[in-house]
């Protein structure tokens, strides 16, 4: 729900004890349905109905007449046609994809490296690193944004001061948010900083499961560090990394909170929109509900396609 990727981690809990896999379940009766009723009601009102309505709205026109109370007009696929021939929309899509690719790649590489360092470091430094990661993971997204805004602040920011004093040029009053590329650089620093702990912890947990004897055998056979990583370690943590990779892709495609926040404190919105903020501006800002709905459905379908594998893996992993 928030971009706080961090807390919204769709994980499966470990069963408290290892239960008998062939659990007997009560058959028959309507008890199960009654118990599901509250959850189904909430999901239907909060997610199901808006979804249906959004599909309908995506085929409708919301113009000036509708602002004065006329019912929305059916226009078939016009919204979709307008959307897919709009260069601004494609600009947003391409920017989001590039932003996502860069951020996911950096997060995965840095996160996995951190996990390897945790594995090799002695106990005390490892715990220090873990506590630091945990602190950063737990930080509410907007609290973290205020810190970063201040660090990058043109006048009182520590980053401008440091760069200037290191003799890397005159950064006095340098504004980091006004240029789109520099805006995305700041956003990338923040998003990667926030996302690394989750990857690091997951990769570390997977690394501790790598069979010790396989590593020893590799060492005896004379495998060097790279070969051990490539042929022993990487294959055994790959399933965990794949799932993390997929979740990161979905999370970094949207990053609404970070982008919206940075736009509000100095970015130029029209040049820095990504998927989430673009839908918001179209819909809430310009009351183009039809177009916004069509675009939102496009994002929805994209997300579901990307996550289908994860849902499938969860179903397979648990005996449902």
């Amino acid at each position: 729900m928030t971009d706080q990727e961090t807390a919204r981690v769709p994980l499966t809990p470990t069963p408290v004890t290892a239960p008998d896999r062939r659990r007997r379940r009560r058959r028959g009766g309507l008890g199960g349905y009654w118990l599901l009723l509250p959850a189904i009601a909430v999901l239907l009102i909060g997610e199901g109905y808006p979804l249906v309505r959004q599909v309908i709205m995506s085929f409708q026109e919301f113009g000036r007449a509708q602002q004065f109370g006329a019912p929305p007009e059916w226009i078939g696929l016009d919204n979709y046609r307008a959307l897919f021939t709009d260069s601004q929309m494609w600009g947003v899509v391409v920017r989001s994809l590039v932003f996502c690719a860069v951020n996911v790649a950096l997060t995965m590489v840095i996160g996995t490296t951190f996990a390897l360092i945790m594995l090799r470091a002695p106990r005390v430094p490892r715990v220090v690193l873990q506590v630091s990661m945990l602190l950063c993971w737990a930080m509410p997204v907007i609290a973290a944004m205020t810190a970063w805004q201040w660090l990058f602040d043109s006048r009182y920011g520590l980053i401008n001061w440091t760069l200037t004093n290191l003799g890397l040029g005159d950064f006095t009053r340098h504004n980091w948010l006004i240029e789109p590329l520099s805006f995305y650089l700041v956003a990338t620093v923040i998003v990667v900083w926030m996302s690394v702990p989750f990857v690091a912890f997951t990769a570390y947990a997977a690394l501790t499961q790598v069979p010790e004897d396989a590593l020893e055998a590799g060492q005896i056979d004379g495998a060097n560090a790279w070969q051990r990583w490539r042929f022993i370690i990487y294959p055994s943590i790959r399933p965990a990394l794949t799932i993390v990779l997929m979740l990161q892709i979905v999370w970094d495609l949207r990053v609404f909170a970070q982008i919206h926040y940075l736009q509000g404190v100095g970015g130029v919105p029209s040049e820095t929109h990504l998927l989430g903020t673009y839908i918001y501006t179209l819909g809430v800002g310009q009351s183009e509900y039809g177009m916004a709905s069509a675009f939102a459905l496009f994002v929805l379908v994209l997300t579901l396609v990307l996550t289908a594998r994860y849902v499938h893996a969860l179903l397979k992993a648990e005996t449902v």
């Binding site: 599901l36 006048r155 949207r254």
Partner: protein, 278 residues
């Protein structure tokens, strides 16, 4: 010889680990450092890296009427969300774990799929819906969206916990003459306490930190804490009271960090066991 080589290498990795820990924790330190300083210190040409004249003034400036109004709003929405999500998810988890009926697997698939839907993909029509129902800019409207958003994950989380309590325990109690209902509540329910706490904390963290939906369905005069915090930083650059903003961040972050530490281990373990098996 070899032993010595190994310890030096360990020390080297240790040093790298500590250095990275410092870099990553720096923003958190910077918040605390800023919150404890007078505003003049932060506007000086040289930043002060440690709070030399400690002061709690910033907290005094920040604890005003606006803060308490936002705190009340955030607490209301969060508590409603936690209560409803835990109750609905609990009964649903019992249903899918203890009963077998038609549509059970479909329900699980729907829950897992909904969990993947980002708020950005639905918020336009949720905004329109709340407008039509006169729930725009209300506690009820925002709470409704929050409950629906956290429910899928809480159902999934609790299902794992209910599955973990063997049915045989209940059956034994039933043989001894308990009703099924009583057997469940005297035997299984107490064993589920950790699961209920974990899902409650999860719902708390989500609702307390949420930003996106609050931006969409709340008016600027009716702000949850994250929006209040952001409101302090959108004034012109010269006027931002950085110590006050940092004090505000501390107030928003402390309850979250405390709760997060409580449940974190459980959640990470969960993901990995799921992932490795798949």
């Amino acid at each position: 010889m070899r032993r010595i080589g190994r310890t030096t290498r360990g020390r080297l990795w240790g040093a790298v680990a500590v250095a990275l820990a410092l870099v990553w924790a720096f923003p958190a330190y910077w918040i605390l450092n800023g919150a404890l300083q007078p505003i003049e210190a932060l506007r000086a040409p040289t930043p002060s890296f440690v709070p030399t004249d400690l002061t709690l003034d910033a907290f005094g400036r920040v604890l005003d009427g606006e803060f308490f109004a936002s705190l009340r709003l955030s607490l209301s929405v969060t508590l409603i969300c936690v209560a409803l999500a835990v109750v609905c998810a609990f009964v649903a988890a019992v249903a899918i774990s203890r009963f077998r009926f038609r549509g059970r697997v479909s329900f699980i698939i729907v829950v897992l799929t909904i969990q993947m839907i980002p708020p950005e993909a639905l918020f336009i029509s949720q905004y329109r819906m709340l407008n039509d129902w006169n729930l725009y800019n209300t506690i009820a409207g925002l709470s409704l969206l929050y409950v629906a958003a956290v429910l899928p994950f809480t159902v999934w989380l609790l299902r794992g916990f209910v599955d973990g309590v063997p049915v045989e325990l209940e059956e034994a109690a039933m043989v001894d003459g308990c009703s099924r209902f009583r057997a469940f509540f005297t035997i299984t329910f107490p064993l589920l306490a950790p699961g209920l706490i974990a899902s409650g904390v999860f719902a708390f963290l989500q609702a307390w930190n949420e930003y996106t939906l609050a931006v969409v369905v709340m008016e600027p005069d009716n702000r949850t804490l994250p929006l209040w915090l952001r409101g302090m930083t959108t004034v012109s650059n010269q006027a931002i009271d950085w110590p006050a903003v940092m004090a505000g961040s501390v107030l928003v972050a402390v309850p979250v960090i405390v709760f997060f530490m409580i449940v974190q281990t459980k959640m990470t373990q969960g993901l990995v066991s799921g992932a490795v098996k798949g």
